[in-house]
């Protein structure tokens, strides 16, 4: 019963890993994935020495770090907030609503940003003008690209990501709340001394996991949000790999850049896991 799954995982996940050697070889169309001449670190050196390397690194790290730092705490705060709502119906409605944007596709999400943020016809454009902030082209500016990206990420996924924290909160022993109340704790103190400690293990695990994908976040969304005006800050490693590899057919060079990205991700994941294990005894492995 498990055989079909093993076969597909092997073919579609492990064969490409074997194909990573391409990063160290010349791609030879007639000899396939692993038949070309060995080039060692040639393509890596080419990437490190290219004039785009620093910009790509800077953009990738900026977008990823901003996303992790800002969008990681958001669902925790939201879950704590929803957990405080005592009126059942309101709680249910709020939960259903905040989950909703998660199901919108990336294309539609970026399309929404385009129509809503468009400087002369979007609602947010009108709002900014009426607040006296003038015509800002939020999508075509190098200064606003990252904030727009991160805020829209939070808007779309914060609610969905809060589910898991809400689940963790629902397992808190009610007696803890009762005894906190008897001890004279205010609602705020209950959050601080009961709710947050209950969430810590979940927070750490999810944080470690999210660090593992720090440098590979959001190829599709960044790609779709790119335009000629914001390209100086929106070109990231993943979009560059796509352009070099799929569009201009430089397979080996592109594979080397992709591998570089994976290695950095893994180092991040490893480091974060170590820190988590040292400081809290909770880790992925």
């Amino acid at each position: 019963m498990i055989f079909p799954a093993i076969v597909v995982i092997f073919i579609f996940n492990y064969i490409p890993m074997y194909g990573i050697q391409l990063a160290f070889r010349d791609y030879d169309f007639s000899k396939g994935l692993t038949g070309g001449a060995w080039r060692g670190l040639f393509y890596f050196r080419q990437f490190f020495e290219s004039y785009q390397f620093m910009d790509l690194m800077k953009n990738t790290v900026a977008i990823s770090l901003a996303t992790v730092i800002l969008s990681f705490p958001a669902p925790i705060i939201l879950a704590l907030l929803i957990n405080q709502v005592r009126w059942k119906r309101a709680k249910k409605t709020l939960q259903t609503t905040v989950y909703l944007p998660h199901f919108i596709s990336i294309v539609v999400m970026v399309g929404l940003l385009n129509v809503l943020l468009s400087p002369n016809s979007g609602v947010i454009g009108h709002l900014l003008t009426s607040l006296g902030l003038g015509d800002v082209n939020l999508l075509g500016s190098t200064r606003t690209f990252v904030p727009v990206y991160v805020l829209s990420e939070i808007w779309q996924h914060c609610g969905w990501n809060s589910i898991i924290y809400l689940a963790a909160l629902s397992t808190v022993d009610p007696q803890l709340y009762d005894s906190a109340k008897i001890d004279g704790a205010s609602r705020w103190q209950t959050i601080k001394h009961v709710d947050i400690p209950a969430l810590i293990p979940t927070i750490i695990i999810l944080f470690v996991l999210s660090m593992g994908s720090v440098l590979s976040t959001g190829f599709e969304k960044v790609f779709l949000m790119q335009n000629a005006l914001n390209l100086p800050v929106s070109e990231v490693i993943a979009t560059y790999v796509y352009k070099i590899g799929i569009i201009s057919n430089q397979f080996s060079y592109s594979a080397a850049i992709g591998l570089f990205n994976t290695v950095i991700n893994f180092i991040f994941l490893y480091a974060m896991n170590r820190i988590a294990r040292k400081s809290s005894d909770i880790s992925l492995w």
Partner: protein, 300 residues
Amino acid sequence: MPFVHKKSRRLNDILFEGAVYLLCLLIFLSIVYPLYFVIIASVSDSTLVSTGQVTVFPKNISFFGYNEIFKDSRIWTGYSNTILYTVLGTAVNLLFTLPAAYVLSRQEFRARRFLMLTFVITLFFNGGLIPTYLLMKDLHITNTMWVFIFPFCVNVYNLIIARSFFESSLPKELFEAASIDGCSHFKFFMKVALPLSKAVVSVIGLYYLVAHWNDFFTGLIYIRSNDLQPLQIVLRDILLSNQVFSQGAGAGGSAGGYAQQYADQVKYGVIIVSTLPILLVYPFIQKYFDKGVMIGSVKG
């Protein structure tokens, strides 16, 4: 003194309560209003929308945008392709994932730990875009519908969710009892495990379904032919590349000004037409969310 103290504490709690509800209301509005705005903008006069006069109710209702959308053959091709990929894809996903998850959930299965490890590794490591792309080429499935189905047969994350569910919801004694009556694993899976696991089947079914419906990447990388493009690629052309009208009336044509004026209305309509199916499935499966998601992810 204690009395005063108690009173001020109650006042604090009332303030706290007020702040909670106020914040919740703000969050609620910030999510609902943009979605609501898209709906009213799609049926309002586009000049009024673009000058900011449509805020709460639609004005000068017209269905021009929807008319254009339903006349557009690209939308129909995209729609029917996506429905095919989604339905077939999700069926294949469940067929591959559920039996595998069941096997991995059985304690008596010897290779269990080893296989689980090899599966989990793929969550952190992959060959990257280029080796994967070249593999698809070698397998001759680029530019066919199969590229939407085969590479995604098993999602390891969903597999883990299903495995955890089977582990925690099927007591060991259940299979022991059934096997005394001569029940094989396969029969037990079909007759007992699956019917008891409706919650998790619907949750991962929904995950797969949404992923197929929203899949943009596969079409972008692997599909060249227009007839095979999924809805998301068509949407990109309309929403982002501004190819709003398929028949010549785009910017620069004789009807350019006219077309540009209505382009936004078409865009609002397209957003609704393409997202509606997902939003219609959602309420039916939502009741299983808390249960299914919780079991899968907390233990992960």
